[in-house]
Subunit: 87 residues, 2 copies
């Protein structure tokens, strides 16, 4: 599944905080494993638009700002498939 592999590559930077298998080791950072793709896309965009601000959201602003529309789709696709049988 090409998009899964492409997304996995692009998600390398996410793994530092969100864990290598999408389960974060830090209590205040969300698990992303198997999360809904559409939700992840809208979340990443709300960091870009600053509709999510304050607190830990600020950490995500710089991360999200570095992502193109295609990056967001690929990374969100990857996490949505992680841990499901269609990995």
């Amino acid at each position: 599944d090409d998009q899964f592999d492409v997304g996995k590559e692009k998600a390398k930077v996410c793994m530092t905080c969100h864990g290598e298998n999408g389960i974060s080791s830090i209590e205040s950072y969300p698990n992303l494993r198997g999360q809904k793709m559409t939700y992840m896309i809208s979340s990443l965009k709300s960091y870009q638009s600053r509709e999510r601000s304050g607190g830990l959201a600020v950490l995500m602003h710089q991360q999200a700002d570095a992502l193109s529309e295609q990056d967001i789709a690929d990374i969100s696709y990857y996490y949505s498939k992680l841990g499901t049988d269609s990995e």
Copy 2:
């Protein structure tokens, strides 16, 4: 586990959108099953403080506004345990 049972009761209202087992049936609504407790608490509070605004966040404002600090803790505890062996 009392807090799990109390949280489950309080989470009844969440199940409509987030699914009975924490896996939502709607692509734009996040799965909450096994999510990090601390992250869920800060997310719910950021809806209350409106640090999360725009788009679908608006739906969550009224939900979060109805919750006390204890409700938030219990519901977040419940979801963090859901699907783990310490259910």
